[in-house]
Symmetry: C2
Subunit: 290 residues, 2 copies
């Protein structure tokens, strides 16, 4: 599973690598961006890793260009991994018809329904295949510490970060999210995606990919979770995000360690993320360097 | 000359305003982005202004999204003004045929040749009309200090920043540039643009829009100029930028105050600018708050 390096770009003293590799999970080539901070280029010390999961429609490039994470990852000595949001080129009928389902909208689940289940396996890809491929890479493996990984994400990627964190206690040192789809079984985006990928009938299966449901059974101790939501976010206002439901479930489960912040006037865009990227990188660094 | 506010976006504690107004210089509507830092939203103190001139093909949005000037302008208490790079909608035959001439490529000159001279008057627009409209605006005028203005820019916009600074001693407190087209009369981009806008014959007129030529007659004291060029910049390698010619002219004129830095491996992109935006905002702030 070797990577092809399509571009190497100087950024904040480090290198942003635009990579591509053949994925056994999705059966397609997958693009991924990897940011190596100056600390990873200098000595032989392995740096910890923060995985950033993007939102609907995004590629690895959007947050690499607009999120401002590299500035802070450089300062703190973290690597950043920006996976894609779905397979591309699986050539499934209808996969490009919607912006919120199919291409660009894999929702970080392993599909169980036809015709998606062969290729739309983003949960396995993001939580296992991709990090293992990076950590075992002849080119990057000696720069990345597989024992120190945190996860973050935006919108659909915030859902991905929270659910992968909650499903895999101990796998990630911390989690954070910007405007996450925090209760997808109860919002239109999530219902559409889960109906398609997991089947319309099996609602119990849906709950295994819902942060608000998953946290009810969380046994991993303090959450170590930072979540930001903008009060000017139209998707929040429309009930696509439902952070209140997640917060209520956390409280009712008696779980500690969720810091949920409502940021006045901020919208759903990269302007919002860029403004708080520093806090999220620092949140991850606090646990990655603990 | 009132502005229409098309969007108000929270960014780093301040507000990014996407504005449009009718320009008498260009005879077209012009888009411009204005970033008001937190300091401008809070008290009644006027904040200084840094004008950022974009490169070929760009709109006011590119640097607003990817340049990360807002992070540092927020911290230092500067407003940012992002003008467009040409008129749009002048409806001149051929104006959209090239990416390096016409729409998106006004080169910050007042055209003197037909058919451009009626609309392509970006020098007057950027150096006079736009700032005057902002400073006299009922909505923003009381937040912006017309006495404290600096200028910066990228590529074609670096050319714009340097030439407007050199042509108007005292108008700007400082200047900086990323990968500027520093000697346009001697590079393909500049020769194409000046032939079109100023006429192919009048080479003396070209020199009035060339930083390397203008600095030979500079009488404004120390330059207060910061210039960054990436050594991995393909346009630099191709001889479009020619910063060495500018540096040589500065030295031969006995002018002090140019800090020209070559940044190893950096390219011509916003990744380069984002990486050094902090230095350029701090450079401007040093003089704006002196």
């Amino acid at each position: 599973m070797s990577f092809e390096t399509k571009a190497t770009i100087a950024s904040f003293g480090g290198k942003l690598l635009k990579l591509s590799h053949q994925s056994s999970s999705t059966g397609t080539p997958m693009n991924v961006n990897l940011y190596l901070p100056p600390a990873a280029l200098q000595g032989s010390t392995k740096v910890p890793v923060l995985i950033y999961l993007s939102g609907l429609t995004c590629t690895p490039d959007n947050c690499s260009e607009k999120g401002f994470f590299q500035a802070h990852a450089a300062r703190r000595g973290l690597a950043l991994v920006y996976p894609d949001t779905s397979p591309r080129g699986a050539d499934i009928a209808g996969e490009t018809e919607s912006w919120d389902f199919g291409v660009g909208a894999g929702f970080y689940v392993d599909a169980t329904a036809e015709p998606w289940k062969k290729n739309y396996r983003m949960e396995t890809y993001v939580s296992s295949e991709l990090p293992e491929a990076l950590f075992s890479s002849a080119e990057f493996g000696d720069k990345l510490d597989s024992e120190r990984v945190s996860i973050t994400g935006h919108s659909m990627g915030g859902h991905g970060a929270l659910t992968l964190y909650l499903k895999n206690p101990g796998k990630y040192r911390s989690v954070s999210a910007f405007a996450p789809i925090a209760n997808p079984v109860n919002c239109p985006w999530g219902q559409k995606a889960f109906s398609g990928y997991l089947g319309a009938e099996d609602k119990e299966a849906w709950k295994k990919h819902d942060a608000t449901e998953l946290v009810k059974g969380w046994k991993g101790g303090d959450l170590k979770a930072l979540v930001d939501v903008g009060t000017g976010d139209n998707f929040y206002k429309q009930g696509q995000l439902l952070p209140e439901n997640f917060e209520k479930a956390v409280k009712e489960a008696g779980v500690q360690g969720l810091e949920l912040r409502y940021q006045p006037d901020y919208d759903h865009s990269y302007f919002f993320m860029a403004s708080f990227a520093e806090d999220h990188v620092d949140h991850a660094a606090k646990y990655l360097f603990a």
